[in-house]
Symmetry: C2
DNA sequence: TTGTACGCGTTATCAA
DNA sequence: TTGATAACGCGTACAA
């Protein structure tokens, strides 16, 4: 065995062909006679050569086969969100035909005090990047990627002109849920929102709080509720978890005299928590209180309840991002896509109780 | 603007320095006079040069800054498992100082009928690879990676000689839970296991079923129970979900005369489902029935229950894998690590009810 | 502190 | 069907 790994030239020499011929045997881009292919493959096996070095190949081709996925949070946190998980699934599926893989990236440099893009985002051999939830924080990452002229797609965020976006009709969808609740006769309604900004601790929001929501999804969905119920109390959770919904529900159901007859939650997990809080308070769902969610995921352990919710095409969103990436890599125009949620009536909403 | 992107030579020319000087300005490997640095940086800004091309740099240095993480399942499925999620977190944290990112990889080629490694595993510019749950299926991936002489670490799996492993004391830990249950006086005990093989549908296992369990974790933990309760009925779930535990619990609690007074579940999610099933059957936990879990994760929505469980250092496992990768990249010896679970008594176990 | 020269391993192009 | 040639863009001895 030699010290350094065998290269394609070594294989070519051993097989008594030119390096280009050996290369072609592996890439399959040009027909090669069976005899020659045999010789090359045998030589490769003999030398323990397992195919072209990806680093050299990617330099030569100008493609690395790597798509970066940029999160603005801890990976562990990101994957706690079932919607993001499904999106990743769709994305992975959509880039697989390109022979590409997904590189997990965080936006912030964790070791740096000042806000600057993570080094890996600057130094990774990316063919394209997908930014998830482009709020203010991801701005630097976006700029960094664009400066590198890397095609970029943004999911759920505002990216400025020229950047394809994958969006949801958050406001309209949430409004539909509110309309449904109204059509059932509910007038005492509360809403439980997703976090409003980084570092928000849970609690009822003041008007001032509402005006300064920096998370677009939260703002939009709240606006959808406000279209129908301008004055409903809004409780902002600290995250999209059952336990957060539970905490919110406890507070909302605490005072029997101001108890809402319907709660519109901005995620299914929050809604599940609200349902639990209702049970805990001795309220029957949906007889005494109606609850709506958002996302349309399967909430493990919530059976026999089926949330009335807005089903968002989470996997589709990922797939669409992947398709946009594929288009941009093929030098085609990639369009923004706006997905529509589908209202699904479960067994957690009913007419307002008659007193 | 020129057609092709500016290279470091262009910058050097514009700054009237040699390419190597310009290179050094970006890498910082050699001191450069302030004046020169300025000129180079200005020239770079002028030309829109954002730093060395990662593809070329990685060819030259022989490092890509990419660590592959190989799963044997759909990504969406993998991230449904809180333990894997935490592991990813630890892994990401541990490789970040290397300036490395995590490339998500599946082991099987989804488009191929025959079992062969995914193309991305063969063609991705990996510095190292981490295989998760190396059962039989991941064998090909392991061989492929080793043929490429890429350093590899295996989490929860058997990798053969020379491959560092990150393991858990599954059997001993589970035995401790069983011992705890026995010390509480329970004799009518059942266990709920993780899936036994790919494609297993839920149900009680026969002795023959038990002998042919192909998932190591399941086998080991079951062995731990068997050390104490050789004859306890074992129900294998189809996945680690609350709803699976619920289904298992329903079956175990169906017949009041053969009802177990304690259930040992192989994961916290399964245990949570068993707790729900107990409630559903009108049994109080832990008064009428004790339940133990495994993992020590926070089960969202299970409050006020706190499972008696075995806390496994999930994040630590990821970190250890990252450390092993770092060591191997530094040409050091990387040792296998065997982690120990910590028994934690919650409020879901109590003495056997007196009749 | 700066510059020269070379090679990292591959593949696209073109001619034979 | 095969082979010669020339980059791809950079980092790093080594010399100046």
């Amino acid at each position: 065995m030699s010290l350094r790994r065998a290269t394609i030239s070594d294989v070519a020499r051993e097989a008594r062909v030119s390096p280009s011929t050996a290369s072609v045997v592996f890439s399959g881009k040009t027909p090669v006679s069976d005899a020659t292919r045999r010789r090359v493959l045998d030589a490769a096996a003999h030398l323990g050569y397992t195919g072209p070095d990806p680093r050299a190949a990617s330099l030569r081709r100008g493609r690395s086969g790597i798509v970066g996925v940029v999160f603005e949070e801890h990976l562990g946190t990101a994957f706690l969100d079932p919607v993001k998980t499904l999106m990743m699934d769709g994305l992975a599926e959509a880039v697989a035909p390109l022979g590409a893989g997904l590189l997990l990236l965080r936006d912030q440099n964790p070791t740096s005090a000042v806000s600057e893009p993570a080094p890996s985002l600057m130094t990774a051999p990316l063919d394209a990047a997908v930014l998830i939830g482009c709020s203010g924080v991801l701005r630097e990452s976006l700029d960094a990627v664009r400066a590198r002229h890397i095609p970029v797609v943004v999911i759920e965020g505002d990216a400025g002109e020229g950047v394809p976006r994958i969006e949801l009709d958050n406001r309209e969808a949430q409004r539909r849920a509110a309309e449904h609740v109204r059509s059932l006769g509910h007038t005492r309604v509360a809403t439980v929102t997703l976090p409003t900004r980084a570092g928000w601790r849970r609690g009822l929001m003041s008007e001032a709080d509402e005006r300064t929501i920096s998370v677009e999804v939260t703002r939009e969905r709240l606006a959808g509720v406000r279209d129908i119920y301008p004055d409903a109390p809004a409780y902002a959770a600290a995250g999209s978890f059952i336990d957060e919904g539970l905490a919110a529900g406890r507070e909302l159901f605490a005072d029997p005299r101001r108890r809402p007859t319907a709660v519109i939650a901005q995620s299914d997990l929050l809604a599940a928590g609200v349902v639990r809080a209702a049970e805990e308070a001795g309220l029957r769902v949906p007889v005494d209180v109606s609850v709506t969610g958002f996302d349309g995921i399967v909430v493990d352990g919530l059976a026999p309840y089926e949330l009335t919710t807005l089903v968002q095409p989470a996997t589709e969103k990922g797939r669409a991002a992947g398709a946009a990436v594929a288009a941009m890599l093929a030098e085609e125009e990639a369009d923004s896509v706006r997905f529509t949620c589908i209202f699904r009536e479960g067994n957690t909403t009913a007419s307002v109780p008659t007193l």
